[in-house]
């Protein structure tokens, strides 16, 4: 058990090395001659206007929020699925009821117009 998670930790380090080391090597091999025009913001040749990090349409944020609600609640279902054989019929049906509540949430969000792209 601990060895498994130790392996995951080692693999994390190895993955970061494999992803990061070529970038560093390429940085050493490649030329480095920046000038103000080269490193200016590229927006199809037109000079950029104003601040980049502007306020954005709230719709994107609402979708992210809906995602958060659903993802967190669905993750609760994984232990239920693993313990399926140990559960009684009542246990399984209460899990199904939980999915029904999720469905009702989806319908409520749908009725409220959260899912419409405007």
């Amino acid at each position: 058990m601990q060895t498994d998670w130790l392996y995951i930790g080692l693999f994390l380090v190895v993955a970061v090395i494999f992803a990061g080391a070529p970038l560093i090597i390429a940085g050493l091999l490649s030329p480095r001659k920046p000038n103000p025009i080269k490193s200016s913001t590229y927006e199809c040749g037109i000079e950029t206007v104003g601040e980049t990090w502007v306020q954005f349409k709230a719709q994107y944020y609402i979708f992210a929020l809906t995602f958060l609600i659903f993802d967190v609640e669905i993750v609760f279902l994984f232990p239920w699925a693993v313990a399926f054989d140990q559960l009684t019929l009542f246990g399984v049906l209460s899990g199904v009821l939980f999915v029904f509540i999720l469905f009702a949430e989806l319908l409520a969000a749908w009725r409220k117009g959260v899912l419409e792209w405007v």
């Binding site: 992803a19 990061g20 980049t52 719709q59 792209w117």
Partner: protein, 418 residues
Amino acid sequence: MSFLNDPIGIIGNWLTNLMTGWGLAPGFAQVITMTIGAFVLAMSGLMLVVFTIVMERKLYGRIQDRFGPNRIGPWGLLQTIPDMIKIFTKEYITPAGADKVPYNLAPILSVGGALMVWAVLPFASNIFGTDINVGVLYIVAVGAIGALGIILAGWASNNKYALVGAIRAVSQVVSFEVPMVLALLVPVILARAMGVNSIVDAQSESVWYFLLSPVAALIFFISSQAEVGRAPFDLLEAESEIVSGFQVEYSGLKFGWFFVGEFLHAFTISALMATLFFGGWSGPWVKAFPLLGVFYLLIKSFAVYLIVILMRIALPRLRIDQMLNFNWKFLVPLGLVTVMMTAVIEKAMPLLNVSDTWAPFLRVGAHLLVNLIIIWVVAVILRKTFARREPPVVGQPRPVAVPPPAPAPVESPAAEMP
């Protein structure tokens, strides 16, 4: 013969014993062996990308009536290597005003996130990185790191097109994770285990889960495509709308790294699809020769990957509202219904008291029947929904610009005057 049955275990033991013989503590020797294993696994993952890129470019070329790369190596198989050498010597351009730390972190996350999934992927019954008992949950968690890389890249670039790409990733890539997690719940219910190797084991004892739940397999396939962000779901790097989306400001290997991450993730998703729904390493004679499992898994993954490539070539890009509607109003309800039906059938089966010989057949039949009913109901609902549209008029004369009728002659007001 015993070496062929368990090569990784034998090499691992030999290495550990060798290092213990040199006087290292056993625990330390084991850690070093595991690190070497992780290196080999990550290396093979990145090496495979070299060939998947060639495969994709060849197919792309053939479908567009070109040859594709055909100069370097047999059939152009080594084309990626000179490309790689070239991209290594290209300059990095850091845009003025970029947020340096997330800007440099994003490509690393993009590749590292896809690579992390390989730690739990079973290639044969005894060839895998590790077999943690929450494998599926780990895959969901790690698979989302790639999306984080995209968001960071777009945000840190100090470019408005990149920002639009990143904000699209927030709503798109992230939304499609909900049906993906729902579809992953189905094999977990069927196998009663979250470990990936246990799921493959359960499949080798019964049937492929694609036969038990084709709807879940399709949901997983589509939503994982969207999560990788490939065409037809490549809104975040739509070339014709927002230049190149989140990667406008990247150059050199940092730019190439996003492509490596995308290809690696796409192949990883195909391998996961093959593992969770098409039986993974299971196949004939795999009990006697476990090494055959690697061969079976690769064949299945490449078959799925072929469909992934064909989808990318054949389908046009969706609009963002179509895509979000497709996700939230189609895939998510479908996934919820599939999970509910699977759970009810799995629990109702033992209550029927069928004899042991017929129980597996009844299980497969019931699941398949319910899935077909779901598909049929969905088809009926879709037809009713889209039948409201006016059919296009065919055979009518085309509208032509007709000259407007000549205005009636207006009597001059001067004539009426007395």
